[in-house]
Symmetry: C2
Subunit: 133 residues, 2 copies
């Protein structure tokens, strides 16, 4: 079945018919947790399983979020934007969304001078999750 996101508008990405940006937002706190990519297969699996599945451009394969860390995302709502080329997930996040151990990948604030400062506390030690940092 055709899905609403229009993957033909997606960025070219080998092994896919295009990838679209997907934003994961914490359903409880409203915090934006991460931005990743989905292809049609990842989107369909997300929709059918209720667990966030992305397409990892660096690994060139589906990325079932939490498959290594256990930090899964249960999806409570999926929205698409006006142009059908961006996806917004509301998720219940287990553990830390970020592979660096922060609740959100957006843990750095950019100051007026363009420099970045870590503004959050680590939730977990990445070494304890992935074996090494």
């Amino acid at each position: 079945m055709a899905s609403i996101p229009d993957f033909s508008k997606g960025q070219p990405c080998e092994g896919t018919s295009g990838v679209l940006p997907a934003i994961a937002q914490d359903a409880a706190s409203g915090r934006v947790l991460m931005m990743a990519w989905m292809d049609q297969v990842a989107f369909d699996e997300t929709l059918s399983t209720g667990q966030a599945v992305y397409f990892s451009r660096s690994r060139g394969r589906l990325w079932r979020k939490g498959e290594t860390s256990g930090h899964r995302q249960r999806v409570t709502e999926i929205r698409i934007d006006c142009d059908a080329d961006a996806i917004l997930l509301q998720v219940e996040q287990v553990g830390a969304a970020c592979h660096e151990g922060y609740a959100s990948c957006f843990f750095r604030v950019v100051g007026n001078d363009g420099g970045a400062t870590i503004a959050d506390q680590r939730l977990v030690d990445p070494a304890s999750v992935y074996g090494k940092a």
Copy 2:
């Protein structure tokens, strides 16, 4: 001055040295309003002016958000993600973020069957803002 977002990781886009996804979140409500793209020039202007500036891939030029509609975004915080390839803005939105007149571009919810349903109310009539819908 080099900025923290790494535009060399961006998607190729003519007239730029790469574009990165930029998410605008309402600073007051936490609502994700839109996802657009920034190149280095757009990012630098956003940082220096405190008004959201994107790069419009369809128009091939800088897009000073609200330049036609008046629906500007005053930026109260800029964050970058762990990989320095996605940008998160907290904004004070004037009017409607979406060119279709909705507060957020993400006004459609995807159901379990893959179909989309409009879940929000229009804030403004696009015809009154842009001259025609």
